[in-house]
């Protein structure tokens, strides 16, 4: 296990991300609501650069059995990563794929030490 400092804390705004390369692996670091997340930049679908895609919200639908009505809600703005190749959706806070419950982006521990954002491989 080796720890790599990838950038200074002040260089990453909340809601933003950077993609870096460590030991031949492209890894993206996200900052969201003060938390850091690091994922492999490799979509589980066809290997697209998922971490370079747009960050958006997503639609969720809810069926009310009592009323028979279906409501459509736009939720989780800025929390959903969309692979730019085909639109596979990932939850930035967990790495989970929204359409395939068994798929999760490989993740790496992130820590901040002396103002530096560190990733452990």
């Amino acid at each position: 296990m080796t720890t790599y400092t990838v950038l200074d804390e002040s260089e990453l705004e909340d809601g933003d991300r950077i993609v870096t390369e460590i030991k031949g692996r492209e890894i993206a670091v996200f900052k969201l609501d003060g938390e850091y997340y690091a994922y492999l930049n490799w979509c589980a679908h066809q290997g697209g650069p998922c971490s370079e895609g747009n960050v958006t919200g997503t639609y969720e639908a809810y069926y009310n059995e009592e009323t028979g009505e279906t409501s459509l809600e736009w939720e989780r703005e800025n929390e959903i990563l969309n692979c730019p190749w085909h639109g596979w959706e990932y939850d930035i806070t967990s790495g989970l794929c929204l359409s395939r419950k068994t798929v999760r982006l490989p993740s790496y521990p992130v820590s901040v030490v002396d103002g530096g954002i560190q990733i452990t491989l």
């Binding site: 969720e60 069926y63 085909h86």
Partner: protein, 361 residues
């Protein structure tokens, strides 16, 4: 359990359910079950009658036209010759082609009463699918409430999404599915290569000058349209107690749809937002498929490969008798005997139908 006194043969030791058996009720006879003014219209159809239309199925005299004109004929040909214990009968109406929605509703009730009086009431081991007109969903729901009191009615019969507008997953039809679920029934879809298909696929119908290509394409296209509409609208999510059976399109199209749906769903999940698991899982959990027409690959093992992909717990025997393209039960069973053990064979011959329609047999 197997019905007594069935003819001896490969199926005599098994309980057999035939999930797709058709009536052709003469309009004059049907009219007797209707009130005026609908009775006179049905007796003297001058606009879009609901009988078969268009293509000649029999190529002159090359194929003999069969009928099941009464309950005894079902008993003799289907239960006797085909060794079927429980025929699951549908009246085979084409109610989606009826332009007057109130007439469609009256015909729906007449078809169901006719089938009960003349078939189901004659033999206790006959089962039925209630015909449903989709033009007025609330009245269809009332009919489902009424007809579900008949214990031999185990499901409803919906003409697939050709001629039925909008397609059958549309929330417009939720009252129908709610009534089905509330009455502990299930749903069977059936296509048509006749008038409804010509209505929605006019180019396909007019650009081929033989029935062969029309027939090849009609049933799978209609089933693909129906399955797609159900999934994109989340019908199996909204009505989780309903099983959905697809009749008369065979099975080879099913793996294609499973995998194509999976692929597109993951790329465009937000456009089918009610789904909570992969489309393939809904197909494997709530959808069943009748065998007829059994595909005829040059290498019979290819059929086994298709069944293996789909799973032996999704497949149900169907003959489609007495239609021109019916399958004798052995068309499927000869493959099942060759490739599967007796336990799996029993599921295909009756066990899956018992599950799909919650049959008390």
């Amino acid at each position: 359990m197997a019905v007594q006194n069935k003819r001896q043969g490969p199926l005599s030791a098994h309980t057999v359910v035939d999930t797709d058996l058709h009536l052709r009720i003469p309009l004059d006879d049907l009219a007797k079950y209707m009130d005026e003014p609908h009775r006179s219209i049905v007796e003297n159809p001058t606009f879009t009658p609901v009988d078969r239309t268009g293509w000649n199925r029999y190529m002159g005299k090359k194929i003999t036209k069969n009928e099941l004109p009464d309950a005894d004929a079902v008993q003799e040909h289907v239960c006797g010759e085909f060794q079927v214990d429980y025929p699951l009968i549908n009246a085979f109406p084409v109610l989606a082609s009826v332009p007057e929605d109130d007439r469609a509703v009256h015909m729906m009730r007449a078809y169901n009463d006719y089938m009960l009086d003349n078939y189901l009431d004659k033999y206790d081991h006959f089962l039925g699918l209630a015909s449903i007109a989709t033009q007025k969903p609330d009245e269809a729901a009332e009919e489902i409430d009424r007809i579900s009191t008949e214990k031999q009615i185990v499901g409803v019969y919906l003409l697939t999404s050709t001629g039925t507008h909008p397609p059958l997953g549309d929330p417009k039809y939720d009252p129908i599915y709610k009534a089905v679920q509330d009455n502990n029934l299930h749903v069977a879809f059936h296509g048509s290569a006749g008038a409804p298909f010509a209505k929605d696929f006019p180019l396909q119908n007019s650009h081929f000058n033989r029935f062969l290509p029309t027939h090849i394409l009609s049933h799978p296209w209609e089933m693909m349209l129906t399955m797609t509409s159900l999934l994109v609208e989340g019908v199996p999510v909204k009505f989780q107690d309903i099983n959905f059976t697809f009749l008369e399109a065979g099975i080879s199209w099913v793996p294609y749809m499973m995998f194509r749906w999976n692929k597109d769903y993951s790329m465009r999940r937000t456009e089918a937002p009610l789904l909570e698991k992969s489309p393939e899982e809904y197909i494997r959990d709530q959808f069943y498929f009748a065998s007829q027409p059994v595909g005829e690959p040059n290498d019979p093992e290819d059929l086994k490969r298709i069944i293996d992909i789909m799973g032996t717990n999704r497949l149900m025997l169907a003959t489609d008798y007495p239609h021109w393209d019916f399958d004798h039960p052995d068309a499927l069973d000869k493959h099942i005997r060759q490739f599967y053990d007796e336990e799996e064979r029993a599921k295909i011959l009756s066990g899956n139908a018992i599950e799909a329609f919650d049959l008390d047999i």
